[in-house]
């Protein structure tokens, strides 16, 4: 009897593995940058090109870096949520305008609204390479010490925001206040 059960058991194991495989998104590659220092950069600002923005300025704050571009379709989907989150004032959101044209980026913001405290311009995508960006939009949560704590590849969903980013940011702020 047991002899005939073996193929069935093996088949069940295979089914379980395949089922788990189906629930995972192959595009979500775990980032090696989690819990590593956020790469330093110094980039011109989108709205004030003569001014620069550096990651070092953000020391002591919990903040979000959101990689976006006017050519990026998913960014457009994500945008209303970003505006909503920015309005809530929970975490300051900074933009990294990725391989975009300045005019396109500016008109995108004036058309759809600007959730960002400011956007830094990464014209040639160099800084994005340092951050391991491969599919905009990508969102990083960076803590007071300048360490990347969370990375979202693709659009942030309300679920990710309320269940992961927000609680983590609150926890970090609490720890920082002590």
């Amino acid at each position: 009897m047991a002899k005939y059960l073996i193929p069935l058991v093996m088949f069940m194991v295979l089914v379980v593995f395949l089922a788990i495989g189906l629930t995972r998104d192959p595009h979500e590659v775990p980032s090696p940058l989690i819990n590593k220092p956020a790469p330093a950069f110094s980039l011109p600002q989108l709205k004030a090109p003569e001014k620069t923005f550096t990651a070092a300025e953000m020391r002591g704050k919990v903040w979000i870096l959101n990689v976006w571009a006017s050519w990026c379709v998913s960014c457009r989907d994500e945008h209303p949520l970003m505006i909503q989150y920015a309005k809530s004032g929970a975490i300051p959101i900074y933009g990294l305008n990725y391989k975009d044209q300045r005019e396109d980026a500016l008109s995108w913001l004036s058309e759809l609204g600007d959730p960002y405290v400011l956007s830094a311009v990464d014209e040639d995508g160099r800084v994005a390479i340092d951050y391991g960006v491969y599919g905009a939009p990508e969102t990083y949560l960076i803590d007071q010490s300048g360490t990347i704590r969370f990375k979202q590849i693709g659009a942030v969903t309300p679920d990710v925001w309320t269940k992961q980013i927000l609680p983590l940011a609150q926890e970090l702020n609490r720890q920082g206040a002590k």
Binding site: V29, P32, K99, G125, R126, I129, D130, G132, Y134
Partner: protein, 157 residues
Amino acid sequence: MRLLSLVLLLIVASVAIAKEAELASGDDPAVEQRLTALSKELRCLVCQNETLADSQAGLAEDLRKEIREQIKAGKSDKEIIAFLTQRYGQFILYRPQVTPTTYLLWFGPFLLLAAGLVILFRYIQQRRNVISDVPLTSEERQRAAELLASGPGKERA
């Protein structure tokens, strides 16, 4: 007239080929060769099943540019691969490094092979026992002799 057009065609073709070769080799053939060799080992993260060498994705172009510049700056292949894995993880390598997290990936097939061999040998051993020669008992020997003596056809009747 025909000859003239043929000659013209050949000239145009050779110029086109020369142009193409020039484009492919870039400014420094040694650098391009290393770039090609390296990027064949690297995965394009946007398309995932293409190498960095084959991919036409924007990011792949940027990464090739980055690698080209690092080669020109005199970095070794190892340093360049370290640069990329720091940012994109092991996933970018078509041949992941042997680390505790990739042990199963590297040695899993050999484990399966070993398990298969063990099962095969056990099975053969078992069969050998089953089909091993068991001498006939005297009763069986007698019955066999009787059957043989009764001749063809008779026994069935």
